[in-house]
Subunit: 158 residues, 2 copies
DNA sequence: TATTGTTATACTCTATAACTATA
DNA sequence: TATAGTTATAGAGTATAACAATA
């Protein structure tokens, strides 16, 4: 080993490896998740858990969805999604009808109390998250949006 | 042409409100969290849950920490942290001694099997997250780092 | 009295495995 | 046989409330 790189002249290009980026994701994401969970839990009375919130939102955006589709969206097993849908149904937030065309499938739809709660929680959580971003510069907001867009492209579907 | 803005020439400045940014956080963060959880769960055999991983990492970085400090770091109640520490102690990953100077407090330290597991999970999770970033451009990696830095400054401590 | 921590209780989330009903 | 979903079981995460030990 004879060739020592000259560190005085060539500034080492920031490596910014995928590993470093991954470590940052692992560090920061759970903390933001905590803030979201707390917000949704205390939002005006009972609230929803984060998975319930996502589940209800999906059914709202996809009326007639099946339990399998919910499970795929949430990234959980069919059994987990089934239990979650059952809770939401028993709470009268969701209607779980049997599909006409395929009697094995459920046709899930949101019910008025579900939509009302969803709106309430969504607004509350958004407001809380927005409050956490109070005073952020436009550049910082852009940075967050750009970073999230990349993460989304990497972690959604694939 | 005095009062109608010319939309062909002037691109409307992107509003990029805090609310829009908050909505994106709410949309994307749980999905990334799912990927992390799955990774840590299947990482070589048993694995750790995300909270356990964070708990163990904190104790590793703060030898002698108390249960209260763990709870504050995790953002959970004292009861929750107590149960988690108890599980890690029973699994021989953590030593929970009584503080000499204040016998109410615990002095938590990581044990060799805990550190070994921590390293294994950390490397596995990092590798999985890094794999998800496979093919990302330097600009994309920068965007993720910048976005996370802003989120961190907003959601950690405050 | 105030602080640190544990225990009791009750949820939800989550997985795997075994099962039913429908196609 | 294959697919959609449920049920059974088990363990972790989480909170609140009540309690014990120490300062």
């Amino acid at each position: 080993m004879s060739s020592v790189p000259d560190r005085r002249r060539v500034a080492p290009p920031p490596p910014l490896s995928r590993e470093a980026c991954a470590a940052e994701v692992i560090d920061v994401v759970p903390k933001v998740m905590n803030a979201m969970r707390t917000s949704m839990r205390r939002s005006i009375g009972d609230g929803l858990s984060v998975p319930q919130f996502r589940c209800l939102g999906f059914i709202d955006r996809h009326p007639g969805a099946s339990v399998s589709e919910v499970a795929a969206f949430l990234g959980v097993t069919l059994a987990t999604a089934s239990a979650m849908v059952d809770r939401l149904a028993r709470a009268a937030y969701v209607d779980a009808a049997t599909s006409e065309v395929d009697r094995r499938r459920s046709a899930l739809t949101i019910r008025p109390p579900g939509r009302a709660l969803l709106d309430r929680i969504r607004d509350g959580a958004r407001a809380d998250m927005a409050a956490a971003l109070e005073g952020a510069s436009p550049a910082e907001l852009s940075a967050v949006m750009d970073g999230l867009a990349t993460l989304k492209s990497r972690f959604v579907h694939g």
